[in-house]
Symmetry: C2
């Protein structure tokens, strides 16, 4: 990029970010240098978003930036980590000042909320692809994992399920989507404080990016156990309840992009969840039999397909990890 | 991706990587967990490579993987860091087992040499774009920076300059390129051991990715000083000397992709460089006057354009940092 384009990037990324005390060398050298305390472990997550795969082409740059930060924060939340530092790899078809302004505004709006400092990254010309690596810390060995669920644990989820999926469904059908629902798709709320508060309380945790059944399934596979869910207990909005009332449970069970946390806690620790500021709902119980069974209010078992989340253009993506 | 495609990725990435003792949780959870020692600082670098921008379309997957690791290792080398953990963000147009096999073989060949463990990342479907975030450590405050050069410092470079640029020039001209020269372009040698040995010796350091003048220029700007270079002292191969003999110094001065280190040391410390296993050449001296002046053997000053490196398709890219 030309010199003036480089200045744009300087302007939109290095000038706007938080300045943390634990960043020894930030943007501007070959690599960044950061300070951890002696009793801390490093937590690292990477998430990529590709134009036309992870978001419809009409998505605003602000929402792309916001969501890129949100999905990475959500990964750290599911580990119980405190977010700290981010590196951005941005491939952009052309230098577009307006785009960079809006994108960085979205990215930093959420980064600012969690005191995340952008410490590096690089920008190249190419197809619109965005990858963020987010780094955080936990006090030694206090991280949460997918494994660790135990028979008899209560299964909880935060927030409500299926709203993001419903927004996507309406977008695909070229229907009008109301603002609140669209915000659930484009600006998910990472449950960072909740994740941290689950240290020493939850046996296992994951964030719901690919749908409840798929992600709870990861907990169960890692823990070598199974789950029984009560469909009537799933926390859903009025809008989503219009679909479940017709017997279609695919939104709360299979739709992705909600970025709520799903976690298991022993009965004896449920009382410790009371002080949370977000909605927490018990939806089922961990059992010894593998697989996930969903029961209706009349005790019938639903034949649930564990398809996971189809991205909006039906091309699935899958994480290696993190 | 389908289940079988996911298995491919598991097979090519999580199975093949090193297993380090300091990785508490590796691939397979929402994020990775790593252990640093109490007196260590974290060093992080991100580099992205885009098909058709950073490498010609005919580049082999092995070489792409090798170079992706090399350029990130080179950033850590220039900080004097010990490489440890990597996260990969891979966007791939289609699931291609042969491609993944070759790419991962190249990536892990170099990762293995430096005991780097792949701890996470994600793979998505999309235009071929590869981004690696590499993490390393230094003993507290022993990192090298671009700033810190002092008047009178000797300026050194490792290896030879311009070979990668010559290979690229020949490729673009559809000429045959000999194997050795092509390897300098596709499989650069990151100077990791050299970088670490420069702790406490060099005043300033950088890796040469965009050409000597551009990158030495970064040291000089960060240090608010200038440099005088002796053209006859530039370490070049016989092949490159055929171009400089005609008065064209653009390959050693402006061509990128060599990934050698450029660093400044006080006269009193030059003796400490003797034990290095790679070629080190003094090419000039740090002076108070800003800018970089290049002198011929007869004492004439060359009017050098500080254009930096043009990527092979003439679309320039520029790092935010790291």
């Amino acid at each position: 990029m030309s010199c003036s384009e480089f200045s744009l990037i300087e302007k939109y990324f290095s000038q706007q970010t938080n300045q943390r005390d634990d960043v020894v060398v930030g943007i501007g050298d070959d690599a960044a240098v950061m300070q951890l305390a002696a009793n801390e472990q490093l937590i690292v997550s990477t998430d990529t978003m590709v134009d036309g795969v992870h978001f419809p082409k009409e998505t605003s740059p602000f929402d792309i930036g916001y969501k890129l930060m949100a999905v990475n924060l959500s990964d750290l939340a599911s580990m119980g980590a405190q977010p700290r530092w981010a590196s951005l790899a941005l491939s952009l078809p052309e230098s577009d000042e307006r785009w960079l302004e809006d994108f960085s505004a979205g990215l930093f709006e959420l980064a600012g909320k969690y005191s995340v400092q952008l410490v590096g990254g690089d920008t190249t010309r190419g197809p619109l692809t965005l990858s963020l690596t987010l780094q955080g810390t936990v006090t030694e060995n206090q991280y949460l994992q997918r494994s660790g669920a135990q028979v008899g644990d209560a299964i909880f989820v935060s927030g409500q399920l299926g709203d993001a999926g419903l927004a996507l469904r309406q977008l695909q059908a070229k229907q009008g989507v109301n603002t609140q629902l669209l915000a659930r798709l484009n600006r998910p709320t990472p449950r960072v404080e909740l994740g941290q508060s689950l240290q020493g309380v939850a046996h296992a945790a994951i964030d719901i990016s690919d749908g409840l059944l798929a992600d709870l399934g990861h907990i169960m596979e890692a823990s070598e156990l199974g789950a029984e869910l009560q469909l009537e207990d799933l926390p859903i909005s009025e809008a989503v309840s219009l679909t479940t009332a017709e017997g279609d449970w695919s939104l709360p069970l299979n739709a992705g992009d909600d970025y709520e946390l799903c976690f298991t806690v022993p009965e004896s620790s449920i009382g410790q969840l009371a002080s949370q500021h977000c909605l927490l709902t018990r939806i089922g119980t961990v059992v010894a039999n593998k697989g996930i069974d969903c029961f209706t209010s009349t005790g019938e078992r639903l034949e649930a397909r564990r398809t996971g989340y189809q991205h909006f253009d039906s091309r699935q993506t899958r994480e290696v990890t993190s």
